[in-house]
Amino acid sequence: MAAAPSSRPFEYLEGLPGTVFFKLYQQPSTALAIFRRMLPDLAKCFVMALLYLKDPLPAADLEVWVKSESLKERDNALSILGRLHILSNTVIANNVRAYMVTNPFAASLRHALTGAEQIQSFGVVADAPAISIANLDEYARRQWEGVLGYMVGTSGLGIQRDVNLSKGVKQLLQAGHLVEIRSSRVDITKDGFAFVLQDVSTQVWHILILYVESAEAIGMDSVEVLSFVFLLSSLELGQAYEKRHLTSNQLRTLSDLADFGIVYQESPEAAHFYPTRLATTLTSDSSALSNPISGALSGNPTGEPSPTSSSSPNNDSNKAGTGFIIIETNYRLYAYTSSPLQISLIALFTTLKYRFPNLITGKITRQSIRRAVEMGITADQIISYLSTHAHPQMRKHNTSRSTSNQAGIPPSILPPTVVDQIRLWQLERDRVQATAGFLFKDFVSLAEYEAPCRYAEEIGVLVWKSDRKRMFFVTRHEQVAAFLRSRK
């Protein structure tokens, strides 16, 4: 749903034990980043409302604050806050349940908002020459595209590889099961396909989480790495930052991230580093994806005379030069790109027809979708790829049309027929979908069954239920179990 935060980093964080959170929340930058990125709107309101309250707020008061028709959103927000260890339940006088913001988080967020004495949570600005944002973007784009190109294997299409990936990068991709090396050939995996079709900001998160996970293995404290990642996200683009204050682990992380293009340093020995746009937009919604990086990634990397990649980034952002794909209702696809990477991505699920210097055309067919599905690409991935990279003209056209028709439904960028058909084609093959979770059964009475079932639905974990059999299936059981206990 709309309230769901970007799932990948969220799931990872959620799996962490409470003590890790305690350590993480010591840093104001981390508290701020998690607040901004992971929480739904309503949860943000709750946190902010409670942040400067001295006493815990009675649960009843909080519940009264929310409109009765928005119970679902409220419970969802509270549930997320609980899972991230931000809000805690306490009991104040008279046995009243109350909520309060947990302490390291509250203190850190307050520090973030007001500032405090403690040094370097938001980086220390170095007195070094600023590097133009265009250059940083160019660097980030080159590195990131190199990574993607390595995975997809664009070398087969005959472009020269100008980026040398370090060994660490390759190992990480392998460890994350994004690629497999078979007889010294790089083969992309099912996860890898899913990965390359995502938008840039999701990809970066994915890589970062992989990195944090693997950090333990090479003897680094994952908390330290994670909070450093959050620190990076709060830095300013185009500004140099001191390395002096960093710990050795953080320095090591820094040089690893430089390989991905997430930070830039002139040389590994330089005394300062520059975050690139990949880092600074980490905590933004993916709407910030209309930034030059994804624009350039999808556009024209080879320095073709296009307005997108060659001119300055400010220019780009004005022109919204991000999308380049046009799909018609007759399944024809036109992509204004000359990037081998993008072409090979599109070729994954399209039958290509013609290739011009800056344009390829093709058609989405049953065969091409089947082929893609067989490779492990899902319809949703294709659709999200297409809509992320839809040409501005398509956005304009379709949004204006759908807003004039029916205001209730959010506008769709792609032609609905195409979207439906892609899904149907996938369904031909893909008939079973697995969801891991927990089954609740053997309820004695219908009433006993109904209450937790409704609760599960409200907090948004319910997957399936059968009133007749008095069973329901949830993705997460802790809260439901707690609910059941509380009713006993």
Partner: protein, 390 residues
């Protein structure tokens, strides 16, 4: 199983929640602040209030990476931008890729920050520095002579400035984000509306902005009383109607005084109106009632004023009336039937209806006069002042 389901067609990552733009209008009327900071239990000096507001602004910025803030000071002599300020030459025309607060103020960022503010998130610090600096400048340039001249505040100007900024940002945002709103199409719609006096165009902008465009709202921190702003009645009303059209809620946080127009503003635009009983608790009020943006407000029960004072101020004596006499030509409001039957505003001769409300005045049968010589009877050159003179 049932992935083919109409609700899911439209869920795509391509439209995320749009950022919101919060414009704060800070009433810096020194008269009112002087009163408010008199040592008492409820005293709230301006400096404390500004500090609270800064935390509030930071909180708003913290909510979303692309959120923006703007602050206008509504002073006694002028309405002035506190943030962002156009004067530094580095401001880019439309740096609209979402991270405006970060890029805009390169001037302040290049010098190393003072050590004690070292670890503040940069956008927060930039906003803070600019606001405090500009506010300081503003107060420093206010002379005692200025203060003697008037004790009101230029709310209409501040509102108009705020609206202009919102308009600019909305256009820029729409341009940058690939045709959520095509500004040309929108203004072409305005062409349709232009004959109607600006109807359709803005409505169209509105429709697209409410769903997917930049969400804007205005918060007024008001300390002055209504009497001071009576001479701006019409401009304020015009601004309120503009907000209403554009679906921009005007939130009013009333620290002292009493402003009838602002109550109406909040009511007409579905904003929040709160008169603070405890000005000291400003921050908590701000965080709780004024921080949620339009999207969250759908789920929250917000404090709105239920009984709104809709009484009007008459143009002749500026009395607040509940029954008035209205000129059918120019709609000026008078508190009593006019002596000569001639409208004080537009000068047309008015026939008194047979109103028995005021026995003192016998409904006089007046000979109807021609309104005025000249074709099409412009009631005057463009100078009839509709406002009640002070």
């Amino acid at each position: 199983m049932n992935t083919i389901d109409a609700t899911e067609h439209y869920s795509s990552s391509a439209h995320d929640r749009p950022p919101s733009l919060l414009t704060v209008i800070l009433d810096t009327n020194p008269h009112a602040w002087a009163q408010l900071s008199q040592p008492s239990a409820t005293a709230l000096p301006l400096s404390t209030a500004v500090a609270n507001i800064l935390v509030f602004l930071n909180a708003h910025l913290a909510c979303n990476y692309a959120n923006e803030v703007a602050v206008v000071a509504s002073h006694t002599q002028e309405a002035r931008w506190l943030y962002p300020v156009a004067n530094p030459p580095t401001k880019k025309p439309t740096d609209s890729d979402g991270d405006t607060p970060m890029q805009q103020q390169r001037t302040t960022t290049n010098r190393p920050p003072p050590a004690n503010e070292m670890n503040k998130y940069r956008p927060f610090r930039i906003v803070e520095e600019q606001i405090t600096q500009n506010l300081h400048d503003l107060l420093a340039t206010t002379t005692p002579k200025d203060l003697e001249a008037t004790n009101s505040t230029l709310m209409a100007g501040a509102l108009t400035l705020a609206l202009s900024h919102i308009n600019r940002r909305t256009i820029a945002w729409a341009e940058a984000h690939g045709g959520e709103t095509d500004p040309n199409a929108a203004t072409a719609g305005g062409g349709a509306g232009s004959t109607t006096g600006g109807g359709g165009g803005s409505a169209e902008v509105t429709r697209s902005t409410t769903d997917s465009g930049l969400q804007s709202r205005i918060l007024i921190l008001s300390v002055s009383s209504a009497t001071g702003s009576a001479h701006q009645y019409i401009p304020i009303m015009n601004a309120i109607f503009a907000c209403q059209r554009l679906h921009i809620p005007i939130d009013v946080c009333k620290l002292s005084g009493d402003a009838v127009f602002l109550q109406q503003a909040a009511d007409a635009t579905k904003g929040v109106y709160m008169a603070l009983a405890e000005p000291k608790g400003l921050l908590q009020y701000l965080m709780m009632a004024f921080l949620p943006d339009q999207r969250s407000r759908r789920h929250l029960i917000l404090p709105t004023r239920v009984d709104v004072d809709f009484r009007a101020a008459c143009f002749c004596h500026r009395r607040v009336v509940d029954i008035g006499f209205v000129c059918s030509i120019c709609l000026s409001i008078f508190c009593e039937p006019l002596e000569k039957g001639e409208c004080l505003t537009c000068g047309s001769t008015l026939e008194m209806g047979d109103y028995g409300a005021k026995p003192a005045v016998v409904a006089r049968k007046k000979k109807k006069k021609k309104v005025r010589a000249g074709a099409n009877a412009p009631s005057a050159t463009p100078t009839p002042t509709p406002t009640p003179g002070p």
